[in-house]
């Protein structure tokens, strides 16, 4: 199969065109995922752009994004496929007399009566696809096993129909908020990417690209304050999306340079716990 990307730099610049600023690690792993034909497991704190990465890669390659949102209680009838038993029932009742049993049997277990769910859809699709399995840590350990076949072989076995193999190998992204340890079997099949909070320079650039008309000076200040806040021992450190919200708020308020008072008054956009806000307000005004 033809590789999608020429080298790591192509991935990086391509993502940048979609307004996603990737660092070396992110671009490298996306490139590798394509070359090795392996799924990528993305972990990291909430709000650092894990889901966005999959979306941006889909846009960049012009592929269709198929998304499977995981939740507790997800099963194969929601993730893989389901027999449309109502239709099957109708088919049986429609002409009771004419067909022999074996004909009916073969007939009702054909693709016509199969409802495809995201995973099956991703591998049967003719056009290029990016498959996003979001928050995979929310399903039970037993359900994880459903994913294994598709992740390693890009195929789905349906007992009545046989094995359906992928027509093209989709790029697969799994995201996890790390609320539980994923099984070894799943991790082994994936490339692992940890997306952390961006460093100062990258955060500043993200603010500059995502918030229109913001001045360089303000973006710099925002990034630096956010970095200082993240160093504190907080319940929940501000995420990138919260940084962006904050930047937008400051823009709306028409603030050009942040001083202490304004910082304190708008802290609640960055931080969501009262104890955190109090701590940050106290720390930021310490003279030393």
């Amino acid at each position: 199969m033809k590789p999608r990307f020429k080298d790591v730099a192509t991935v990086r610049s391509g993502l940048k065109k979609e307004n996603y600023l990737a660092d070396d690690g992110i671009a490298g792993v996306v490139y590798l995922a394509d070359r090795l034909g392996k799924p990528v497991l993305i972990e990291g704190p909430a709000g650092t752009g894990k889901t966005q990465l999959a979306k941006s890669v889909a846009e960049m390659t012009g592929a269709r994004l198929i998304r499977l949102q995981c939740y507790e209680g997800l099963d194969e009838s929601k993730a893989l496929y389901e027999w449309n038993y109502k239709k099957q029932l109708l088919r049986i009742q429609a002409d009771k007399t004419s067909d022999s049993w074996s004909e009916v049997h073969d007939d009702i277990f054909s693709e016509e009566f199969l409802l495809t769910r995201p995973l099956l859809e991703a591998i049967t699709s003719e056009e290029p696809v990016v498959l996003l399995i979001d928050e995979v840590d929310r399903v039970e350990v037993e359900t994880e096993a459903l994913l294994l076949e598709i992740l390693s072989e890009y195929q789905v076995s349906i007992p009545e129909l046989g094995t359906i193999t992928a027509k093209q190998i989709p790029l697969v992204f799994l995201t996890s908020n790390n609320t539980r340890e994923l099984s070894e079997a799943l991790k082994r099949r994936c490339l692992y990417l940890h997306v952390d909070y961006p460093d100062l320079e990258r955060e500043k650039e993200i603010v500059l690209t995502k918030v229109p008309d913001i001045s360089e000076n303000l973006a710099d200040q925002i990034a630096r304050i956010v970095r200082s806040i993240r160093q504190l021992d907080l319940k929940k450190a501000p995420s990138v999306s919260e940084t962006l919200d904050w930047a937008r708020t400051l823009m709306l308020l028409g603030i050009e340079t942040i001083d202490e008072k304004e910082a304190k008054e708008t802290l609640h956009i960055l931080l969501k716990y009262q104890t955190d806000i109090a701590k940050a307000a106290k720390e930021l005004s310490v003279t030393k």
Partner: protein, 482 residues
């Protein structure tokens, strides 16, 4: 092929350090190396990381080992021979001349030797001030060469050389100097917010410089002694394997960081287990509703979620010197998942005992509560040496009536009783009333019942004594408990 040899040594070392690298992952890494050239060191590192390291907590261990094995690769990492100043060094000297404000110019062969440590420190300060990365890197190299005094073949770790290098550069006072200089330079007074930001910025630059120095030392050590020997001396346990009783300050920090995600995962797991552990009674309404889509046949019976009662917990912890760290972590751990218990009460003792539940109630910040426990709890009765017997006796007298059949009592300590009376009947009584009594001991099993440890005597009356030396064991225990 040398890369292949290097890779197999590298992977063996990862396994030695405790990272679970499977055969498939090994093969993946080999595949990855094929498409990413080793010359692009950053991309190469991430490629290996993505295929071999599947847990973020292991990343630092991986990074260290990577540095050891691959630090001598790539042209920009060549070690300069002494007396061969590169272009950069020349440029540095030019700058130095400017700093001194005199154009005499040193001879180009002068090298580092012609500069006093103070002058080098001044150059470093300039580089830190301007955030000049390339300059910082060059200075790191030169100062290691100049100050570390590395002797080939000497089997010391890198820390000693690091200390020597940094001492000569007076890095401890650098931060304050930078802040002062910055204050002088700017015309108007800085607001406290700005100052704070400047300070954070300088701190991060100094930290970066330190890492450069460390990396340089490591490179030289590897060149001298070879990767394998070096990796062995640098080998450190993973955060979850660090022993509570012997953790250094740095390790304590990383333990603290590892604790929070661990508890979050555990809480999620327990909540899930609680709901799915067994099936509840039949949910009649729900079953009938679902039967409608099967033409009234209840083909898909639905069950209620079971809601088993949460246990009540009483934690009784020894907080005397040797086991204080263990008690602290256990308390933090228990309180971090306190919503998995219906009620948590905590008591700390040395030779006297005090209830500290209120410290945790009044604040959301567990770390702060722990600090208050250590400073405010009234735990000394006579001399401040552990006396389990007396502490237990008082505990039973004051709070014994609160122990009921729902209560689980956790006793934490090494049971080193300083040869006081054991009073183990208290534990026996507790067990009669409580649902369970467990003892957690941070000492290795082989030390139990040696010297003044009488854990066996107490343990006989409990439902179990568990060795709890590191986070992994603690997590395992708590999981079974809740």
């Amino acid at each position: 092929m040398p890369v292949l040899d290097l890779m197999s040594g590298f992977i063996a070392e990862l396994r030695n350090a405790g990272l679970p690298v499977s055969l498939t992952e090994n093969l993946d890494a080999m595949e990855a190396v094929k498409v990413i050239p080793i010359e692009d060191r950053d991309a190469f590192k991430y490629a290996l990381g993505a295929t071999l390291v599947k847990n973020n907590a292991h990343w630092r261990v991986f990074e260290t080992i990577f540095e050891v094995y691959f630090s001598l690769r790539g042209p920009e990492y060549e070690i300069n021979q002494e007396g061969q100043p590169d272009d950069f060094w020349r440029e540095m000297q030019d700058q130095m001349d400017q700093v001194k404000g005199q154009g005499e110019g040193k001879g180009s062969g002068g090298g580092m030797d012609s500069l006093t440590p103070e002058e080098i420190a001044a150059m470093l300060m300039r580089a830190l001030m301007n955030g000049d990365q390339a300059m910082m890197r060059a200075l790191a190299k030169q100062s290691v060469q100049r100050f570390a005094g590395m002797e080939p073949g000497r089997p010391v770790g890198g820390t000693y050389y690091l200390y020597r290098t940094l001492r000569n550069l007076d890095l401890d006072n650098m931060l304050q100097k930078l802040i002062d200089a910055n204050r002088e330079m700017s015309n108007q007074a800085l607001s406290s917010l700005e100052e704070r930001l400047e300070k954070d910025e300088f701190e991060s630059r100094i930290e970066q410089f330190k890492q450069e120095v460390e990396a340089e030392i490591r490179r030289r050590l590897v060149a001298d002694r070879g990767a394998e020997a070096m990796a062995k001396t640098l080998r450190k346990p993973l955060p979850e394997d660090v022993e509570f009783m012997h953790a250094s300050r740095d390790e304590m920090q990383s333990l603290k960081k590892a604790l929070y995600p661990l508890t979050r995962k555990l809480a999620a797991r327990l909540a899930r287990k609680r709901r799915h552990g067994r099936k509840g009674p039949l949910d009649f309404r729900n079953t009938v509703r679902h039967s409608l889509s099967y033409g009234g046949v209840p083909a898909d019976p639905k069950f209620r979620y079971p809601r088993p009662a949460k246990p009540e917990l009483m934690v009784v912890a020894d907080i005397s010197g040797s086991v204080a760290a263990f008690a602290r972590f256990t308390l933090m751990f228990v309180y971090a998942i306190q919503n998995q218990f219906s009620k948590v009460r905590s008591f700390v003792f040395i030779d006297g005992i005090d209830e500290v539940t209120k410290f945790f109630k009044s604040t959301e910040d567990i770390g702060e509560a722990i600090n208050r426990v250590n400073s405010e709890a009234d735990v000394v009765w006579v001399d401040g040496h552990s006396d389990y017997g007396h502490a237990f006796e008082v505990f039973f007298e004051r709070y014994g009536k609160d122990i009921n059949s729902k209560t689980t009592v956790l006793l934490l300590g090494d049971a080193r009783n300083n040869y006081h009376a054991a009073q183990s009947w208290v534990v026996k009584e507790m067990r009669k009333r409580a649902r369970h009594v467990y003892w957690l001991n941070p000492e290795p099993k082989s030390y139990w019942n040696t010297g003044d440890s009488i854990v066996g005597e107490y343990g006989a009356h409990t439902d179990g004594v568990f060795e709890c030396r590191n986070l992994r064991q603690l997590e395992g225990f708590v999981e079974n408990l809740a």
